[in-house]
C-alpha cells in the first residue's frame, strides 16, 4: 500500500525531478545532502576498542545521543558538542591516552621504544602516530598531521622529561579532534553534471563501514579508498561483499536494530519492583541482548526472511531471564539456544520481554505505548502526540473494580473523541500484547478478569498475540518500513525527493530476495544515492516537497 501510494504520487507528476516508475534496474537516483554525524556512545567505544583493544576503559559521561524521526542515526547529524561536552571528551581522551601508554599496555600498543625515555624520539612518535592516527581519523594522515603532532609531542617531552607523555598528548589530541568525534562527509561536483555531487572515497568508506559494521573503516577499506577503488563498481562491490561476509556484519546489524528498536532507552528503564520483583538491571540487560541475539541469528547467521522475525520460535535464554519466561535454563552462566514449542504464546519479537518491558509503564503494561512503538518504529507510521489536556484519570485506575483489564479502561478512555483518533491507531495492536505484563511475563488474567488479546491490524483480525505476530509478518508495510529505516540509518537523514524512487526499487528487491537483509544492505551500499549528494541549493528546494510527500504517504498508510 505504501509502495503503491508513493509510486502514484511520484508518477502523477507532482515532482518534476522524478522521471518514471517501474524500471527494472537500480535507479540512478541522486543522494541527499551530506552530513556531519557525531559518533554515538557505542561508536566511540567501538572505535577505542578497535584501535587500542577492549582492555582500555572508556570512562566518562557522553553528550547525550539525540533520537530524531525515530533514529539516533538521524539525530546524530543534528547535534554538536557543547563546551561542557568537550570537557568530557577531553577528560575521556586523556584517561584513554594514559592507559594506552601505561606500562601495562605500551609494549603492545606502542610499536617502538625510544632511545631514551627522557628525551624526544621523533621517529618513534611518528611510528606510533602512523599506527593509530588513520584508524581514529578514518583517513590517511597528511604530512601536516604528522609534523604538527610530532612537534607537539616533542615539546611535551621537553617539558615533562617523559617520552610517553608526548605519546599521551598525541592520543588525546586525536580523540578530541572533530575528525574523530564527527563523521565529516565530503562531496564534490561530479564531472559536468550540474548540481550532482559525489562523496569522496574516504567518506564513502566511512559510510560503508558504519552501515555494515558500525565502526570506522578497517585498513583494507581505507587502502581501497586511498587507491580510488571505491570509485569503480567492481572495486566497490569487492569491498561491500568482503564486509558483508565478515563476522563484523553482526555488529553492524546489532547497531541498526538497537537504533530501530530504541534500545538506548533501556539505560533509563526502571520498574516498580513491588509489582515486578523479578525485574532487575540484569534482567533488563539480558532481555535487550536476547532480542539482538535473535535478530543477528536469524538475519545474519541464518540469513532468514525478515518477516519471520515476528513468527520465529527460536530464542536464547539466560538464567536471569528464565524466570521472566518461566522456562528452564540449563546453562549456569552465559546464553543457550532454545525453541519455544508449538502452541506456546512466545512467538516472534513482539512476544519478547524486551519490547514489552520497554514499552510499558513502571507499574503496568501499556497497550498504547506498545502500539505506538509498533506503528512508528516497525511500520514507519506517525502517531500524533496526546493532547496536553488529556485526562488519564480513569485509565490510571488499574485497580478499579469496574474496569479490570486494560481493554476495559482503554475503551472508556477512548470514548472521548479527542482521544479516539490516536488510540484507534495504537490500541488494537497493543491490546494483542496485553497477555504480557509490564516486564513481559505471560499472563492470562488481569485483576482476576480474563484478558482478551484479540484485535485488528489494519483490517487483519487476530485472536491472540500469536495471530498478531502472523498478521504483522504478512503486513505489506513491514518490508517498506525496513527499507526506509535501513536507508535513513545509512545516510543519517530522511530520504529526499530524488531518493524516493530508490526506496521503491529497494522494496522490490527486498521482496524478490524473500526479505533478506543482506540483499537490502548490499543494494543500499551499492546504490548511486549512497555515493552521491545534492548541492546545498537543491537541498533547500527539496525540503518543502519532501515534507509534503512524506506527510501524504504517512496519511495514506494509516
Amino acid at each position: 500500500m505504501l509502495f503503491a501510494t508513493r509510486c502514484l504520487l511520484l508518477c502523477a507528476g507532482l515532482f518534476p525531478l522524478v522521471i518514471a516508475c517501474g524500471s527494472d534496474g537500480p535507479p540512478d537516483a541522486q543522494g541527499g545532502p551530506v552530513a556531519m554525524r557525531r559518533l554515538t556512545q557505542g561508536q566511540y567505544r567501538q572505535a577505542i576498542a578497535d584501535v587500542f583493544g577492549p582492555e582500555i576503559e572508556v570512562v566518562g559521561r557522553f553528550e547525550p545521543d539525540n533520537r530524531r524521526e525515530g533514529l539516533v542515526a538521524v539525530g546524530s547529524a543534528t547535534v554538536t558538542v557543547t563546551p561542557s561536552g568537550f570537557e568530557q571528551y577531553e577528560a575521556m581522551g586523556a584517561h584513554i591516552a594514559k592507559q594506552v601508554v601505561s606500562e601495562d599496555h605500551r609494549e603492545v600498543l606502542v610499536p617502538c621504544e625510544p632511545d631514551s625515555r627522557a628525551r624526544p624520539d621523533a621517529a618513534c612518535s611518528e611510528a606510533f602516530l602512523r599506527r593509530v592516527g588513520p584508524a581514529l581519523l578514518r583517513r590517511p594522515l597528511t604530512a601536516s598531521d604528522i609534523t604538527s603532532r610530532v612537534m607537539a609531542a616533542n615539546r611535551a617531552v621537553h617539558l615533562s622529561g617523559d617520552f610517553y607523555a608526548g605519546l599521551e598528548l598525541i592520543v588525546t589530541s586525536l580523540l578530541v579532534s572533530p575528525e574523530f568525534l564527527f563523521r565529516m562527509e565530503v562531496a564534490s561536483p561530479r564531472g559536468e553534471t550540474t548540481g550532482v555531487l559525489r562523496v569522496d572515497d574516504l567518506t564513502l568508506a566511512s559510510r560503508l563501514s558504519y552501515l555494515l559494521w558500525n565502526a570506522g573503516p578497517d585498513e583494507a577499506l581505507l587502502s581501497a579508498a586511498d587507491r580510488g577503488d571505491l570509485s569503480s563498481t567492481e572495486g566497490l562491490a569487492q569491498q561491500v561483499d568482503r564486509m558483508l561476509a565478515s563476522p563484523r556484519l553482526a555488529d553492524g546489524v546489532r547497531a541498526l536494530f538497537e537504533d530501530v528498536f530504541r534500545f538506548d532507552e533501556f539505560e533509563n528503564l526502571g520498574k516498580d519492583v513491588i509489582r515486578y520483583p523479578v525485574f532487575s538491571a540484569q534482567v533488563a540487560e539480558d532481555a535487550r541482548e536476547q532480542t539482538l541475539r535473535v535478530v543477528v541469528d536469524h538475519l545474519v547467521v541464518r540469513q532468514g526472511d525478515y518477516r519471520e522475525l515476528f513468527t520465529t520460535r527460536r530464542s536464547f535464554m539466560t538464567r536471569a531471564l528464565g524466570p521472566v519466561y518461566a522456562v528452564p535454563v540449563r546453562s549456569e552462566t552465559g546464553w543457550e539456544a532454545m525453541e519455544f514449542p508449538e502452541g506456546d504464546p512466545r512467538v516472534g519479537l513482539l512476544a519478547h520481554a524486551s519490547f514489552n518491558m520497554l514499552h510499558a509503564h513502571p507499574g503496568r503494561s501499556s497497550a498504547t505505548l506498545r502500539g505506538q512503538f509498533i506503528r512508528e518504529s516497525l511500520l514507519c507510521q506517525g502517531v500524533p502526540p496526546a493532547p496536553a489536556d488529556v485526562d488519564f484519570g480513569l485509565f490510571n485506575e488499574d485497580e478499579n473494580p469496574k474496569y479490570k483489564t486494560a481493554r476495559d479502561r482503554l475503551e472508556v478512555h477512548s470514548s472521548d473523541p479527542t482521544c479516539r483518533n490516536c488510540h484507534r491507531l495504537t490500541d488494537p495492536i497493543g491490546l494483542g500484547l496485553e497477555v504480557f505484563d509490564g516486564v513481559g511475563r505471560y499472563r492470562t488474567v488481569e485483576n482476576g478478569a480474563p484478558i482478551d488479546a484479540s484485535g485488528d491490524l489494519d483490517g487483519h483480525a487476530f485472536a491472540n498475540n500469536m495471530e498478531l505476530g502472523k498478521a504483522f509478518a504478512e503486513s505489506p508495510i513491514l518490508g517498506a518500513c525496513l527499507v526506509e529505516n535501513v536507508y535513513r540509518y545509512a545516510v543519517g537523514r530522511d530520504p529526499v525527493n530524488t531518493e524516493r524512487r530508490l526506496l521503491s526499487y529497494l522494496e522490490g528487491r527486498l521482496e524478490e530476495s524473500d526479505y533478506r537483509l543482506g540483499v537490502l544492505l548490499r543494494e543500499v551500499a551499492m546504490s548511486e544515492s549512497f555515493a552521491t549528494a545534492s548541492s546545498p541549493r537543491e537541498e533547500r528546494a527539496a525540503t518543502v516537497s519532501d515534507r509534503l510527500i512524506a506527510s501524504r504517504a504517512r496519511k495514506e498508510s494509516l
Binding site: 519492583v273 513491588i274 515486578y276 520483583p277 523479578v278 525485574f279 532487575s280 527460536r314 538464567r319 528464565g322 524466570p323 518461566a326 522456562v327 528452564p328 535454563v329 540449563r330 546453562s331 549456569e332 552462566t333 552465559g334 546464553w335 543457550e336 539456544a337 532454545m338 525453541e339 519455544f340 514449542p341 506456546d344
Partner: protein, 376 residues
C-alpha cells in the same frame, strides 16, 4: 512412570532417541507433568502456642557449668583479641572440648521436655503411642498432639531441644527461622521435583524426589526467593533422594518414606543433614507454591555432628555455637539415646534416630540435573 519422563527428558535434550532431537543443542520447555520447586523456607518446628513446661528450668551452658574456667578464658580472649590475636575455643584454659569429643566430659544431666505440648509434625510410626506402650523399651515415647488436634505426632527432637534456651519460642532459633536467614544465605539449597503429575488437585500416583542444589537460591528485588528460576542440582548423587511414591488428594500432597540427605553450608557449618524415612504432607497453593511439613528421623550421630561440628578453617567453633544456643555438647550427646525413637539397632535394640518435623515452603522452579548442565 518415572522412566517414561526420564526417557522424554533424554530425548528432548538431544541425547538420543530421535534424529530431529539430536540435531542441535536446543532445549524444549519442560513437560507440564513435571513440576519443580526450590525451598523458600526450611526450618524445624518450634511450637509457639503451648511449647510445654520445663519444671526444672532450662539447660545450662558450659559457661554456667564451668563458670571459673569460662571467666578466665573470656578475659584472656578479650585481651588477646584487643592485641589483634585469636584464642582458640579448644584452649586449655577451658575444660576439654566435648563438642569435638563428647566423651571427654561427664554427662551434665541434660534436661529434656517430658510433659505434654502442642507440637506440629507427622505421625511417622502410625501409632498414637505413649512411653508405657512399649513396655519401657528404649524407643518408647510419648507422642504429641498438634495444634489442630491431630494425635500421634512424632517429634522427639522437640523433647530433646524443648528445654534449651535458644530453642524456646521467640528466642534465637525462632528468630533465625523467622528471618529465613539460612535459606537466604544459601545454607540450604533444596529442590523438590514431582513427576507423573496429571492433576494438581487429585492424583493418586505421582513421585517426588528431594535434591540438594549446587548453588544458593536466587533472591528477587524485594528479597524473596525468586520463582521460576532454574537451579542446578548438586553434582553428587548422594544428595539426590530416591524417588518416593506420593499422592495428591484434594490439593494435599503426601509422600511415602525415603531417605534424604541435604547439603548444608553456612558460616561455620559444612555438613550434611540426613533425614531417614522422610515423608511430606504439603498443600499445593493457588499461586503454585507448596507449603507443608517434612517428617523424618534424624540419625543421632549425624544430628550430633550437625549441631556441633562447626569450624572456621582448622579452628573449632562448636563450643561457641552451643554456648550461644544454650546447651552443652556433652549433655546433648548423653540425652539423645533417651529420646531416640526410630531405627532400633538390630543387635542392641537401642534406637538410633530421633523423629523431627521440618516446616517448608517451596516455590516453582526448574530442576536442572547437574550432569546435563552445559555452558555457553
Amino acid at each position: 512412570m518415572r522412566w517414561i519422563w526420564t526417557l522424554v527428558a533424554v530425548c528432548l535434550l538431544g541425547l538420543g532417541c530421535d534424529a530431529g532431537a539430536r540435531q542441535n543443542s536446543r532445549v524444549s520447555i519442560a513437560q507440564p507433568t513435571v513440576r519443580g520447586y526450590v525451598m523458600a523456607r526450611w526450618h524445624e518446628e518450634i511450637p509457639d502456642i503451648e511449647p510445654g513446661e520445663c519444671p526444672e528450668g532450662l539447660n545450662p551452658t558450659e559457661a554456667d557449668y564451668f563458670p571459673e574456667e569460662w571467666a578466665d578464658f573470656m578475659a584472656a580472649r578479650k585481651r588477646i583479641r584487643a592485641a589483634g590475636g585469636y584464642l582458640r575455643w579448644d584452649d586449655e584454659r577451658l575444660p576439654p572440648d566435648a563438642c569435638q569429643d563428647p566423651l571427654v566430659q561427664p554427662d551434665p544431666g541434660f534436661l529434656t521436655l517430658d510433659g505434654p505440648a502442642l507440637v506440629q509434625g507427622l505421625d511417622l510410626d502410625g501409632v498414637d503411642s505413649g512411653r508405657a506402650d512399649s513396655g519401657g523399651s528404649g524407643c518408647a515415647h510419648d507422642d504429641f498432639v498438634s495444634p489442630d488436634g491431630s494425635t500421634g505426632i512424632d517429634n522427639q527432637y522437640w523433647r530433646l531441644m524443648g528445654c534449651v534456651r535458644g530453642y524456646r519460642p521467640n528466642d534465637l532459633m525462632d528468630r533465625l527461622h523467622e528471618s529465613n536467614v539460612a535459606i537466604k544465605e544459601g545454607a540450604y539449597g533444596i529442590l523438590l521435583e514431582i513427576t507423573g503429575l496429571d492433576d494438581s488437585r487429585d492424583d493418586e500416583s505421582v513421585e517426588v524426589q528431594f535434591l540438594s542444589a549446587a548453588e544458593p537460591v536466587t533472591m528477587n528485588a524485594v528479597d524473596d526467593i525468586m520463582r521460576n528460576v532454574s537451579v542446578t542440582a548438586h553434582e553428587e548423587t548422594r544428595f539426590h533422594s530416591a524417588w518416593a511414591r506420593a499422592r495428591i488428594e484434594n490439593g494435599i500432597l503426601t509422600s511415602e518414606p525415603v531417605d534424604v540427605r541435604i547439603k548444608i553450608k553456612q558460616q561455620t557449618s559444612d555438613n550434611e543433614h540426613w533425614f531417614r524415612d522422610a515423608r511430606i504432607r504439603a498443600e499445593i497453593q493457588d499461586d503454585g507454591s507448596l507449603r507443608g511439613i517434612l517428617g523424618a528421623y534424624v540419625d543421632t550421630g549425624n544430628l550430633y555432628s550437625v549441631l556441633n561440628d562447626q569450624n572456621i578453617g582448622d579452628r573449632p567453633q562448636g563450643r561457641n555455637a552451643a554456648n550461644a544456643r544454650g546447651f552443652m555438647c556433652a549433655g546433648v550427646y548423653h540425652a539423645m539415646p533417651r529420646v531416640a525413637d526410630g531405627h532400633p539397632d538390630p543387635d542392641t535394640g537401642e534406637c538410633t534416630s530421633i523423629s523431627t518435623a521440618i516446616h517448608f515452603e517451596a516455590v516453582p522452579a526448574f530442576v536442572i540435573r547437574a550432569q546435563l548442565a552445559m555452558s555457553d
